[in-house]
Structure formats: structure tokens, C-alpha cells
């Protein structure tokens, strides 16, 4: 019941900090919710068709990583024409590009794959410090 108080005759001179703490906790929660929403991503390039198709020179140093679908199973991976296990791709790419100036590679995936499988390869490329990763799409391949 507590109605029989009145014992404190003097004025209470302490500041009541409880509402301030309430407000600060709420602000903390709001900022905790907002901060993780910084978007992360992998930058890629889409090769544009050459202005003059005749000037396009074939480059035998081009690195193309292929992701080949195997039905429902795990996809298989190829760097240019050589097959590699998934775990071997990143070290191999790092080895190839360690001595190169132009860090350019291309990623080509089968249309029936999940996007995650291709995103993993792009991720391997970025881990191997390849700055420019081009996506080869059907239109790029057709040269349009």
C-alpha cells in the first residue's frame, strides 16, 4: 500500500537518471539495428563489345574460370582447359596472378547452376587479388 510515507520531509535533490538511461538504451538499440546494413559485395565487370571487331586481338594469356554443371552433384571447375578441385582454385589463381601486372580474369558458368556456385568462384578471384573479374554471358560469347 505504501501510502503511509511522507517520511522524507526535505526536497529530493538527486537527479533522476532513469529516463535518461532509458533514452540512451533506446538510442543504442536503434544504432545497433542500423549499423549492420552497410551493403557488401564483389565488384565485377561486364565486357562491352569492341568498337571495331577487327581490332579485337586474341590474347592467349586470358584466364577463364569455368564452372560446369554436373546435374544435381557438385559442379566441376576448369581454369582455361585444366580441371581443378574447388579447393585448388584459389591457390592456383594466386600463383598465376602473382607475377602478372594485369589482374584480369573471366568467369563463365553454366546456365543451369545456382548463382551461389558462380559467386564462390568470383569470391576466389577476389581472394587471389584479381581486381578485374569479367562475367562471360551468352551475349558476350556471341560477340554482340
Amino acid at each position: 500500500m505504501g501510502m503511509g510515507g511522507g517520511n522524507h520531509g526535505g526536497t529530493m535533490s538527486e537527479i533522476n537518471v532513469t529516463p535518461m538511461i532509458d533514452v540512451l538504451l533506446v538510442l543504442l538499440i536503434i544504432f545497433m539495428v542500423i549499423v549492420p546494413v552497410v551493403p557488401k559485395g564483389l565488384s565485377t565487370l561486364i565486357p562491352q563489345p569492341p568498337k571495331n571487331p577487327d581490332e579485337a586481338q586474341p590474347n592467349d594469356r586470358t584466364i577463364v574460370v569455368q564452372v560446369l554443371a554436373n546435374g544435381a552433384g557438385e559442379p566441376s571447375y576448369k581454369i582455361n582447359e585444366d580441371s581443378f578441385a574447388k579447393s585448388a582454385i584459389e591457390p592456383k589463381l594466386a600463383e598465376i596472378f602473382a607475377t602478372r601486372q594485369e589482374k584480369v580474369m573471366f568467369v563463365k558458368g553454366d546456365a543451369s547452376l545456382d548463382f551461389q556456385k558462380v559467386a564462390e568462384v568470383i569470391d576466389f578471384g577476389h581472394q587471389a587479388d584479381v581486381d578485374n573479374i569479367g562475367l562471360i554471358t551468352p551475349q558476350v560469347e556471341a560477340g554482340h
Binding site: P39, G41, S43, I46, L113, D114, F115
Partner: protein, 157 residues
């Protein structure tokens, strides 16, 4: 008789220092619910949702792939960022609007018309069909875009 009742009252209220001893023991109990804390909490929830809603509402729900080497892309959160989303069932969205894959190129080109940096962000579901993703990329390519940011989740190491 009156003196003993007053004495009993004083005993029950404990020590009376400043002589405030006129408390009525039979005073009615305050039976109103105190709504002030509830209103406080409700207002706070209101503010939280007001802050969060515009950040969540303008995005198509997709399950982004996970990548270890993902870099932060501040520009993707800007108001004028051009974001294309490909969902798990293969539908393509430009911003929040569903578009046919065939029209995507022209619409992206229209949005990029007055911008100097031709950068487009692609939010593709990790289980989206890569063929559909490539179709969207092809369409973006026809808009003259060469910088494409694939938005992912960052894998914590």
C-alpha cells in the same frame, strides 16, 4: 478511547518525524493502471519501426550469396543507386518493380541517362538460376554498363 486509536494508527505507520500523522489508514487504494510506461514503450517501438521501415521496405527480399572477399559498397545504399534483383524463382526486379527480362536493358539505360558513373548493383539470390542471372547481366550490358556490383553477405572469418 480516542487516544488509544490514534496511538494504534501511529504504530502502524511507523515513525512520524515531521508530525505528519494524519494519514487515513482506510484511504481508498489507487486502482488505476499506470499507462505511462506502456505509452513510453509504444512510442519507442513506433520510432524504431519508423526508422527501420524505409530501409527494409525498398528492397526485394533475396537470400544473398556468402563471400569472404566482399568489400563494402557504400554506393549501393544511396537513393539513386540502380539495383537489379533476381529472386530464387527467376523473377527480375528493377528497384522494387518487377520487370520483364527483355525490358530491363532499356529501363536501366533510362535510369542511368543523367548519371556519370554507370554502375549497377545486382542482388541475386544464392539459389537463383545462373542462366536467369546471366540474362539480367546481358540486359544490363546492353545499357552500356560495365561496372557491376554483385551484392553478397560477408562471411565472418
Amino acid at each position: 478511547m480516542t487516544a488509544t486509536t490514534a496511538q494504534a494508527g501511529n504504530d502502524r505507520t511507523g515513525q512520524t518525524i515531521m508530525g505528519i500523522n494524519k494519514r487515513e489508514e482506510g484511504k481508498k487504494i489507487n486502482s488505476n493502471i499506470n499507462v505511462t510506461p506502456m505509452v513510453d514503450v509504444m512510442l519507442v517501438l513506433l520510432i524504431i519501426f519508423m526508422v527501420i521501415t524505409p530501409m527494409i521496405g525498398d528492397k526485394v527480399h533475396v537470400d544473398l550469396p556468402v563471400a569472404a572477399a566482399a568489400l563494402s559498397m557504400e554506393n549501393a545504399n544511396k537513393e539513386d543507386a540502380v539495383t537489379v534483383a533476381v529472386t530464387r524463382d527467376g523473377r527480375t526486379y528493377l528497384g522494387q518493380d518487377r520487370v520483364n527480362t527483355g525490358d530491363l536493358g532499356a529501363k536501366v539505360a533510362a535510369r542511368l541517362e543523367n548519371k556519370t558513373d554507370k554502375e549497377v548493383f545486382l542482388r541475386a539470390d544464392q539459389r537463383a538460376n545462373y542462366g536467369k542471372v546471366m540474362d539480367a547481366v546481358d540486359q544490363i550490358r546492353t545499357a552500356g554498363v560495365s561496372q557491376l556490383g554483385l551484392l553478397t553477405e560477408k562471411r565472418e572469418q
